[in-house]
C-alpha cells in the first residue's frame, strides 16, 4: 500500500490519510497482507522512483517485524501493519511508526540456526520459537528472565 512519495513539507497532508489507513487496518485486519500482494508493479515502480530531491520519502503501510538476536537472548515481535518510511538517500535505514494500540500479530513459528546463539559452539539443533499469548517471541538462556518477560510482554 504505497501512500506517497513526497517532500517533508507535504507530510502533514497525508497524516490524516495514514491515520485513516491505520483505522482500516483495525477494521480489515488480516486482509491487509493480501491487499499488498495485489499492488503489483506500479507500486514497486513508485517506490523506486527518485526525482533527485534528497529529502523525498517513501511512506507505506506494511506488515512489520523486528527480530533481535543476542548471544544469550532472542526477542521478536510483529505487527499487521505499521507506517514504514524510507529515504532513497539513506538505503541503510528505515523508520517505522506504530500507533501503540494495536497488539502484536502472529508470524507463525520462528526457527533460528547457527552457532552464534549461546556461544561457543551454539545450540545442538536449530531453535524453534512459538509466540506467547501476547504474540511476542522470546527465547532466553536465562530461564528466570524468559519467565518474567513472558508475563510482561505487551505493547
Amino acid at each position: 500500500m504505497t501512500l506517497a512519495i513526497m517532500n517533508r513539507n507535504q507530510i502533514w497532508k497525508v497524516v490524516g490519510v495514514v491515520l485513516l489507513g491505520c483505522g482500516l487496518q483495525l477494521f480489515c485486519g488480516s486482509q491487509l497482507y493480501a491487499q499488498q500482494a495485489d499492488l503489483g508493479a506500479a507500486d514497486r515502480d513508485a517506490l523506486t522512483h527518485d526525482d533527485d530531491q534528497g529529502d523525498d520519502l517513501h511512506i507505506r503501510i506494511e506488515p512489520t517485524g523486528t527480530i533481535e538476536i543476542y548471544n544469550d537472548f532472542i526477542n521478536a515481535y510483529f505487527s499487521v501493519g505499521d507506517i514504514v518510511i524510507r529515504s532513497p538517500g539513506s538505503p541503510h535505514c528505515v523508520a517505522r511508526i506504530t500507533n501503540g494500540l494495536l497488539p502484536f500479530s502472529s508470524a507463525g513459528q520462528i526457527t533460528v540456526g547457527g552457532s552464534f546463539f549461546g556461544q561457543p559452539g551454539g545450540p545442538p539443533a536449530p531453535i524453534t520459537i512459538d509466540n506467547t499469548f501476547f504474540n511476542q517471541y522470546i527465547y532466553s538462556l536465562v530461564p528466570r528472565l524468559s519467565s518474567s518477560l513472558w508475563g510482561a510482554a505487551s505493547r
Binding site: 517533508r8 506488515p63 517485524g65 538476536i69 499487521v80 505499521d82 523508520a95 506504530t98 526457527t111
Partner: protein
C-alpha cells in the same frame, strides 16, 4: 546464523535469511559521544543528522553496525529508526529526514524520550513481498564503547 518464520495470515513468512556475527573484538566509537554518567541522556536534535563514526580495527570485513533509535514517544504513536551501516565505511548517518518524519507522525513536541541501541554484528531488512522485517544480530555487551541501551532525549 540462519533465521526464518512460517508466517501467518497477517504476516508473510520470513524466507531463510543468513546473518553473520562479527570477528572484530571491540569497536571504539568516536561519535556520538555518550554521557559518562548513566543519569545523563544523549541529546539528539531532530533538525540534524545523527552521525556515527568509529575507528578502524581488524575484523570489520562483512560486519554491520546495527543502530536502532527506538521507543520514540509522542501523542500520535511510537516511532523508531533502524539502520545497518557497513562497518568498513567507518561512519554512518541516521538522516534528519527520517528524524523529522518520525517527529511528524508521532506528533512530537519539545523533548521526547528514546533509546539508542548499537550492536556490532549484522543487520538486514527483508523487504520482499511488501513487508519490513528487520533482523539485528550482535552480542549485547562486550563489543563497543557504547552501552547496550542508552537513554536519549530527542529535541523536536
Amino acid at each position: 546464523m540462519t533465521i526464518q518464520s512460517t508466517g501467518s495470515i497477517t504476516n508473510p513468512a520470513l524466507p531463510l535469511t543468513t546473518l553473520h556475527s562479527a570477528k572484530a573484538s571491540f569497536v571504539q566509537f568516536l561519535t556520538p559521544v555518550i554521557p559518562s554518567s548513566v543519569s545523563e541522556t544523549l541529546i539528539v536534535q531532530s533538525t540534524q543528522p545523527l552521525e556515527f563514526t568509529w575507528q578502524k580495527v581488524p575484523g570489520l570485513e562483512g560486519v554491520r553496525i546495527a543502530v536502532s533509535l527506538w521507543d520514540i514517544g509522542g501523542i500520535g504513536g511510537i516511532g523508531e529508526i533502524r539502520c545497518g551501516f557497513p562497518a568498513e565505511d567507518l561512519h554512518g548517518t541516521l538522516p534528519k529526514s527520517l528524524l523529522q518524519a518520525v517527529k511528524t507522525f508521532v506528533s512530537g513536541v519539545g523533548l521526547s524520550g528514546a533509546i539508542l541501541r548499537v550492536l556490532v554484528g549484522d543487520r538486514k531488512e527483508v523487504k520482499e513481498n511488501g513487508v519490513s522485517y528487520v533482523i539485528e544480530l550482535g552480542p549485547d555487551a562486550c563489543c563497543s564503547n557504547i552501552p547496550i541501551d542508552v537513554g536519549v532525549n530527542i529535541q523536536f
